[in-house]
Symmetry: C2
């Protein structure tokens, strides 16, 4: 018994049957004596459909009007879920983002939550109502609707859990937890009972799209215990918290990311500050650079290579071309046929053999490593895209057992 | 030049092309130097689709949640229209009902506007913005979304026009004005340049579904000049105002209403207060009674007949059966094969020959009159449904020329 925040994504409320399924989960939790706040996203493809409607009329509509448009999606979901809960005979009320007290800044389409005024939430919970809140949305100080950007409903849920000091924030999704690798690809992938915030952040960054990163960062900052759990099969999922049981695992997971482009410039004249100028230029264009490799070439030249997401590659190349020290005839190569494979685990920092064990597994499978990047809890390698699935299985087998 | 409120219904914004058409009308008005507030309804069938979604989940959802659901429809329309206006290069902002300052009472699904706080509207107009407002919706004093009921967007528009003391409130629709009869049925029907509020009210009540009645009542009360005008062909339409030019017309229009049921009880024992008891019982059931006919029957009995709308007929009959003085075996007849044909015109009160001219036209066409009802500006007759169209043409020809 306590206060539980439950978040359901768009696919969990995509149609009447699924809405009823969510209502069942929510009311079961309430029946066990808990106070329940439910955060929901827009149904299924609603957001995409609304975006398509907007584009038909104006490709360059202001974000203020886009937010006005998109916020209607969650409004539909909360009303329908409240109706479903009513049909089961439970007291319930739906609240829009602003009614639930979400104040944000004015960065439309990517607003940050400033604070949550919990008066209304507490009043409704005090009346023993199940409270259904529209995720993804808030109100700025002009009293205009804002949205938090894609995946924002996770953040809404964590923010409410933090503001109300909830006992747990359950993120319902279409997988039943966080796995050591993609279970559709790696047959021996194991579900984790617990994982730390930092590990979850690394996994999310690496393409395991279970939780929105901002929501994990916020959960870490405010120490909100998260649970990743399946809405179709709500058995215990994976708990995300500050300190996780180690379960004798050196690494928590193996992931691949194929949304990677490798850009290289070979033969830059070696003058001081080259790397600084390149990467500050890219930062100014809002391009996230991941793995960076710099080597001294021949004849007082330097080679620099780095990875960006595929859709950032053209902008990155243009940015490089605009630099005064990048000669017109200097070749800039872009390879999009690459993948990043990573192992993540807080246990790694105290086990020096991790990197070599990973490299050995790749070598045994004839997989060539193009670039390497390491952090305290992660080792990533860049390899040919065609080898990615094979590499994940090989590395997973090496660390987590065949 | 002045301040103009323009209202567009759901069919006027049903798709991208129509939204662009509305944007054209609005920006043309703005270009002429006017301040413009636009009130829009939900697109096309959006409201019906949302109701269907709700019914799939819960046939008996609370009206509070229905209003939460339905208000999303106008939210989509205002955002899309604002985007369309942006695409034409004009300054614009969309506002939800509550952002536009609509305070209502708490009768969900049929809320009444209490007041409009015009601060935000005035600020945006002061910034020379076209202001697009979601019709049909407001906020009660619990800060919950309410809706004004079907046709509520007309009321929203008139309320804004009144609150801002607008020079004109244009109601755009799919007809280009108010006609002396349904132009699809009566080939000589003429468009009226002007009509009084009272005449418009009678015509609306009688089934000419051009304007929502509450909006006309409000326009009359606050002396807001209305114009009924076509969104597809925005030439001058029909002006609705307190005193209209007479244009030498005795009557303004001839209408028919086929949503009528005639209920009769024959042979009630004549005790005092029978009529009072019958009609107060019906009023308690929220049933609007229109034409009433009471006659003394034989042997100290009374016959009472009255008309109600078709969907109210079963409830009305049950209510009669529940009365202690209505014997079980007393026959209650219900005839739904009837129609009401009416002539409306403020000029009628000073022309005693109107009724006889109408009856003559019907007699010449072999149409039998079942019931008659008159007011200062209206004469209605109840006839067989099969004669309705013939009657409208005959009466229209008699008064308004073949």
């Amino acid at each position: 018994m306590g206060l539980i925040v439950q978040k359901f994504g768009g696919s969990s409320v995509a149609n009447a049957e699924r809405v009823m399924n969510v209502a069942k989960i929510v009311t079961d939790t309430y029946k066990q004596g808990n106070d329940v706040v439910v955060v929901v996203s827009a149904q299924g493809d609603t957001t995409d459909d609304l975006i398509a409607k907007a584009k038909e009329i104006n490709e360059n509509a202001t974000k203020r009007e886009m937010d006005m448009l998109l916020a209607s999606g969650e409004q539909i979901s909360i009303a329908l879920l409240a109706m479903a809960i009513q049909s089961m005979g439970f007291p319930v009320i739906s609240l829009l983002g602003w009614q639930a007290g979400f104040s944000t800044n004015s960065v439309y389409s990517a607003a940050r939550i400033r604070k949550i005024n919990t008066d209304r939430l507490k009043m409704e919970l005090g009346n023993k109502k199940i409270v259904v809140v529209a995720g993804f949305q808030g109100l700025n100080d002009k009293e205009d609707i804002t949205t938090l950007g894609r995946g924002g409903s996770d953040t809404s849920a964590v923010a409410i859990a933090s503001a109300l000091q909830a006992d747990k924030c359950q993120i319902f999704t279409d997988v039943d937890g966080v796995y050591t690798a993609d279970p559709r690809k790696v047959k021996n992938a194991k579900k984790l009972q617990e994982i730390t915030y930092d590990e979850m952040l690394e996994l999310a960054t690496l393409g395991a799209q279970v939780l929105n990163n901002r929501s994990v960062e916020m959960a870490k900052k405010y120490n909100v215990e998260l649970e990743v759990i399946s809405s179709l099969n709500p058995i215990p999922g994976t708990i995300v918290k500050e300190v996780a049981k180690m379960e004798k695992m050196l690494v928590r997971g193996v992931t691949k990311d194929t949304d990677v482009a490798r850009i290289s410039i070979v033969g830059l004249t070696d003058v001081p500050g080259i790397a600084f100028k390149i990467f500050s230029k890219l930062a100014a264009k809002d391009i996230n650079v991941d793995i960076i490799l710099q080597s001294v070439g021949r004849n007082n030249t330097k080679d620099i290579a780095f990875t960006v997401s595929k859709d950032n590659a053209p902008v990155a190349i243009q940015a490089l071309r605009d630099l005064p020290f990048v000669d017109e005839d200097l070749p800039i190569e872009c390879d999009t046929d690459v993948a990043k494979v990573s192992v993540v685990g807080a246990g790694m920092e105290t086990h020096p053999g991790t990197a070599s064990k990973m490299f050995e597994a790749l070598y045994n499978n004839d997989i060539n490593i193009q670039m390497i990047s390491t952090s305290e809890i992660k080792i990533s390698v860049l390899i040919d895209a065609k080898d990615a699935d094979k590499a994940v299985i090989a590395v997973h087998d090496a660390f987590l057992g065949a």
